[in-house]
């Protein structure tokens, strides 16, 4: 099963793959907006931090779904496990934040290494069901094992020390916002390097045609498990960040809704393109926060209609729209699609 609409000319895809160093307006624009938001709407930094964390989470999902073709509805498992691990770390070992992120990443990666070989035996709907079953089991476990996870109340009451011993977390989320932004930037660079590396190209090859990749001698299972684990670790960091800046981690992180919302954001933004995660998650979480504050049910109605129309009119997501615009502009400028980049 292929999940990527392969309507892009091969030359264009190849160009994208081999010009990792090339910067376009997107590379600058998004980060300018992110930093600008800090100064323009300083009262919304709490929401802003949540959005940044969810972008990171959606980005991790893009690695699995967009690049590996692993259709998962269980990404919330990594988010939750990362969050719980870092909260546990802060409660019992130290409140130092960066080591907490590492702990979250490692815990989620371990989950990925354990569950990866299990779920990657399947494809399609069975794969979706397996990821869903694993997440639901973790959720039931978190609710049941009160002594470890705090049950329905979740884990709270831990204190996070200043970042690098310098920047104290404040109630205005100033530190949290930049902390999340820097972690996101680092994760993005890693993701971009990975998807353009030989490893990234082989997983894309597996997504497009597993049989051929096997004939070429690529160890398919190992590569996919590697990708799944990496994606899980990144989601674990997102969970750890969330636990650290909100001071709370609960069983709601493990519900189907968390994974589902991230998947919606990703498809809305456009998958397999990294920046799709930025556009989709920002749009989805800002809108859902604002609209839910007004009326949750009308928000659901609006979102539903938006999703239906999105599938009808922009099958490649928001980022697909910008690409179409780019194409249009290139044509107007008399330049061919497969020009070699500057």
């Amino acid at each position: 099963m292929t999940t990527i609409p392969s309507d892009r000319p091969i030359a264009a895809s190849l160009r994208g793959a081999f010009t990792a160093h090339r910067l376009n307006w997107m590379d600058v624009g998004i980060w300018v907006v992110a930093i600008g938001a800090y100064f323009v709407v300083p009262t919304y930094l709490s929401l802003g931090t949540t959005v940044l964390i969810m972008i990171l989470f959606t980005l991790s999902l893009d690695l699995a779904v967009g690049y590996g073709g692993i259709d998962t509805l269980g990404q919330g498992a990594f988010f939750g496990v990362g969050g719980y691990a870092s909260a546990y770390w802060a409660l019992n070992v130290t409140g130092e934040p960066i080591s907490g992120l590492v702990v979250g990443a490692v815990a989620a990666a371990i989950l990925g290494i354990i569950t990866g070989p299990i779920i990657l035996r399947a494809r399609g709907l069975t794969l979706i069901m397996l990821t869903l079953a694993i997440t639901s089991m973790l959720e039931e476990f978190a609710v049941t094992a009160k002594s470890i996870t705090g049950g329905d109340d979740g884990l709270t009451g831990y204190h996070i020390l200043p970042v690098l011993g310098l920047f104290r977390f404040d109630i205005y989320f100033r530190t949290a916002y930049f902390y999340a932004l820097i972690v996101l930037a680092i994760a993005f660079v890693i993701a971009r390097i990975v998807v353009n590396s030989p490893f990234g190209l082989t997983v894309r090859g597996i997504r497009e045609n597993p049989v051929r990749m096997r004939l070429l001698g690529v160890p398919i299972r190992t590569r996919l498990i590697g990708l799944y684990t990496l994606s899980g670790a990144m989601a674990g960091v997102a969970g750890a960040l969330s636990a650290q800046v909100t001071g709370l981690i609960g069983t709601d992180t493990l519900t189907f809704l968390v994974s589902g919302n991230a998947l919606i954001s990703l498809i809305l933004g456009g998958f397999g393109r990294l920046y799709g995660a930025f556009l989709g998650a920002a749009l989805f979480y800002i809108f859902s926060d604002r609209a839910a504050a007004i009326d949750p049910f009308h928000w659901l109605l609006g979102l539903g209609i938006l999703l239906i129309l999105a599938v009808r009119f922009m099958p490649n997501g928001l980022i697909g729209l910008t690409e179409q615009f780019q194409l249009f502009r290139d044509r107007r400028g008399g330049r061919g699609l497969d020009r070699s980049g500057p």
Partner: protein
Amino acid sequence: MSDILQTWAALTFNGISFGMILFLISSGLTVTLGVMRLVNLAHCGFAMIGGYFAMAAVDYLGFGLLASLPVAIVGTMIVAAVIERTLFRWVYGVTELSQILMTIGLAFVMVALCNIIFGPLLHALPIPGWLTGNLDVAGVVVSTYRCFLIVVAGLIAIGIWYVVEGTDFGARLRASVDNPRMARCAGINVRRIFSFTFTVGCGLAAVGGVLGSQMLPIEPFYALNYLILVLIVVATGGLGSLKGSFTAALIIGVIDTWGRYILPSGGGFVMYAIVLVVLLARPQGLFARA
């Protein structure tokens, strides 16, 4: 009969009746997934719509439960046929992720509209007097209504089995499920068969929604809350296999009921664990198509 045995017999009985409801709701979905490879996450919404049609018939027209059932079936089938002709036509043949996005959007719209029209409260449809109370079956006390459920759902299952296995239409449906291209070559209008089956499947879901309202109360979030359960039934049973869905629904109904008795706080842990094992052993489901 000892107490423990009685308890377990009663639990199994309740599990079977729950499984029957799950089967009614999931039977349409398994065909949708099997024939047109359409991942329809809005399927539970049709069961919910059926429930609300019945509720409206009970509240405004003064119908009883059984009289409201035809209203629910016909109403849901009309809604389903209209949606199939308009919205779903857009997403045949697009990627699974797009189908997921579209149909979950549809489910959201259903949730929001039902809340706006009927309000956020939970509803269970009233049971007629002659179905209340308990029966004593060989020393095991069971509710009359659940007996009635099992009988009705059993009859419907037999009806489905007869239509699929014994009629000309069933033969064409099976051909379309097994090999759509070949079926088309043999002159079968797969599109029309699918439209018809989809509509009937939604009607069956409505029956499940109406009759099961004691176990799965009608509420706006019905469409999302029971979605996973129904998807699990379909995946465990094997896509496109009605026999598989029937078996899986019964097994999951019984195991879930047992699991919640053994581990009350753990909820569905036991069920998810079993589903995991089944899907690992047979990734294509219990009764995979050849």
